[in-house]
Symmetry: C2
């Protein structure tokens, strides 16, 4: 746990895929004790690609760092009762459930009979309970039709599951906010977030839905051009590409000065009869502006561009592949204190990100790698439910719970 903001808060996570596990990770990295419950042998997402030579999923181990793992046979009533008991166990900072698995035996109202101040947060596909994943939500937003210069017939999907990522952080926020209310009033909360609501709310908040309704004109398909100001990509003499943005007036002035095009811009302003200090005018004149800038970039290597922009207020960055970023960009490597080299069971040592949230005044706590499946089964049952070793042993013998020895991918490794 990198931060101690949520120290003492206990969250039971019953989840799969990205949004709910990333919410749990966000909580865990901020100091919460997040206990992930999985089916003995692993849940539906346990073996998802990419899988390391050591046997375990880089996806699962990436999203489940800093948590504890309990493996339970949730097909059996005794297993379900154990999970219910973990969720509703006493303690002012316990009684919190994070889930995206809408099973009746984890329904809020059922669990609240045991613990009326329960806080639960459920991530779902659509608000009516129907299935949706990031990909089937994103296609509904219209964004693929205006990405990459595409159109409705040639939609371009995002690669980042951005709605999952947004939902994850909204869910972490929801749990912290509900814990704050509970601390003040004693009240629980049954919270829900649908992926599709996350998507359409975001489009509305950014004004894109109002643009359709109020102005009758949807956002055009702009390729890599930035909407509403000046920004686009350029090729360099060494075959790399860079992105340059002139959004604020100071960014724009810095760009014009650094590239030595002040006279050409003044001539363009006279020719068009516009004032390019206004960002909307820069947007309208973007093709003309780009034509003035392109030769400057084409005549310089990336290193020369970097040197020319150093110490200026130009807002820019190179395009990098991820391997290039990891090799060349200090933000994506061990020079960034956000990263730690964790030795993850079944994967081995590799650079792993902690929380992007920082509290510079305090020492940054160390992360824990993702546990083997069931690594904490015994400790959690004893600590949270007060079971003794004999009782835990009987649960193992009956096959209701399992420890790390039953992790199928660790055995494979």
């Amino acid at each position: 746990m990198n931060l101690d903001l949520l120290r003492g808060l206990r969250v039971i996570e019953s989840s799969a895929f990205i949004a709910a596990p990333l919410a749990g990770l966000t909580l865990a990295q901020a100091g919460a004790d997040v206990i992930r419950i999985d089916m003995v042998g692993g849940g539906i997402d346990y073996a998802r690609m990419p899988v390391a030579p050591g046997g375990r999923s880089l996806y699962w181990t990436g999203l489940n760092k800093a948590k504890r793992s309990v493996a339970v046979d949730i097909r059996r009533p005794e297993g379900r009762e154990l999970v219910q008991a973990l969720v509703t166990a006493p303690g002012p900072q316990a009684g919190i459930l994070l889930t995206n698995i809408g099973v009746p035996w984890l329904a809020h109202d059922l669990l609240a009979r045991q613990r009326p101040d329960l806080v639960s947060c459920t991530i779902e596909g659509n608000a009516d309970g129907s299935t949706a994943v990031d990909y089937t939500v994103n296609c509904a937003t219209g964004l693929p039709a205006i990405t990459g210069g595409g159109d409705a017939q040639r939609p371009v999907n995002h690669v980042l599951p951005a709605w999952d990522v947004a939902c994850a952080h909204q869910a972490a926020f929801a749990i912290a906010a509900a814990a704050l209310r509970r601390q003040a009033t004693g009240e629980g909360a049954a919270l829900r977030i649908a992926l599709s609501d996350m998507a359409f709310a975001t489009l509305s908040h950014m004004g894109m839905m109002a643009e359709v309704e109020v102005m009758g004109e949807p956002r055009p398909s702009l390729g890599n051009d930035l909407y509403g100001a000046f920004g686009r990509d350029f090729g360099t003499a060494c075959g790399r590409r860079v992105y340059v943005a002139g959004i604020s007036l100071s960014q724009w002035r810095s760009l014009v000065e650094a590239c030595g095009i002040a006279d050409a811009i003044a001539a363009l302003e006279r020719r068009l009869g516009v004032d390019l200090k206004q960002e909307a005018r820069r947007y309208e004149a973007r093709a003309d502006i780009a034509a003035l800038l392109a030769p400057w970039f084409a005549a310089r290597t990336l290193a020369e561009v970097r040197a020319a922009f150093a110490g200026t207020g130009v807002c820019w960055g190179p395009y990098q592949t991820l391997p290039q970023a990891m090799a060349e960009d200090p933000r994506a490597g061990p020079a960034n204190p956000m990263f730690e080299r964790l030795d993850t069971p079944g994967v081995g040592p590799h650079l792993s990100a902690g929380s992007p949230l920082r509290e510079p005044a305090r020492p940054r706590g160390a992360m824990r790698p993702a546990p083997a499946l069931g690594a904490d089964t015994d400790a959690v049952l004893m600590e949270v439910l007060g079971l003794d070793a004999a009782a835990v042993g009987r649960l193992h013998d009956a096959g209701v719970v399992a420890g790390p020895e039953a992790d199928p991918l660790m055995r494979a490794g």
Copy 2:
């Protein structure tokens, strides 16, 4: 405020653009009293496109719903002192600053002299303090090189500023978590989040950086194909496109059954010698699977696809432009209780999203539209700082503060 999770919490927001304002909106929709401070006449983002015929920005009014607005001449020492006083005003639920504007007079350490338990959250471009915006961070992640079938020479930018959106929700989470710790321990917090850290942390959490380091193979450029399982887009007989995902085994079985390709899939499994019940095998065989499915979609209209999939477990969705979504999709229109028709000054009535977070057991509170600039200047100065009407009047006379009559876009409208 749609929810009352944060009722009583007072947040002073000094911000611009997307990430910080969206964080403030997230807090406000969950019940916090978010007071946005702007320069008299509007900050750097006040007039950003798209601008409504009524004169005001759909972008700004979308991101600043549910907040109060105070207009201050922050170039003057008296104006800065007022903002500092608002941030450090007493009260157990006050003393919270949300900002992405790194000015020395709002530095945490300076303000903490007045209020040691101050909670501040600062969103920045890079952790070293250098400038970055979503676009210049995204190009560094490698995602544009694998979007839309692109490569490093033909990068495809995302249209959604996904890192801004993720940062916004992480910041809202950070503030709620710090308020929780402060309620328990009395301690303040100086928190920071860099856009670039948000991006690289997310890539690491999803296993994409480990994929490069541990396996030596970065994620390939897959066009609209889903990585790691089966999912892609298909054209229909009526010229529309749909996205179909077979990630979980039950989704896959539902798809095979609904499209009547069970025999063909069995034959394919025999020919390839693989078991397509395993999602990684479906990913490897995705081209063969798509070839079996494409004729089924090509022979059906979207309405026929919808009818065929109704009541099945198939995970799918149509591609829609945003105008299509708003016309046809109940999730993106007034049938969705997340939306309200707000009459925003300078824009007029239009459908506006509230919080995607729901607490179904409680009535959903009504939203407030974005205020005119300075609409709450007098009320906030009197209520928070205890100034009387005469003192507020003197600040107006001296030009240190302004009310909505000085909103330049409202006058234009």
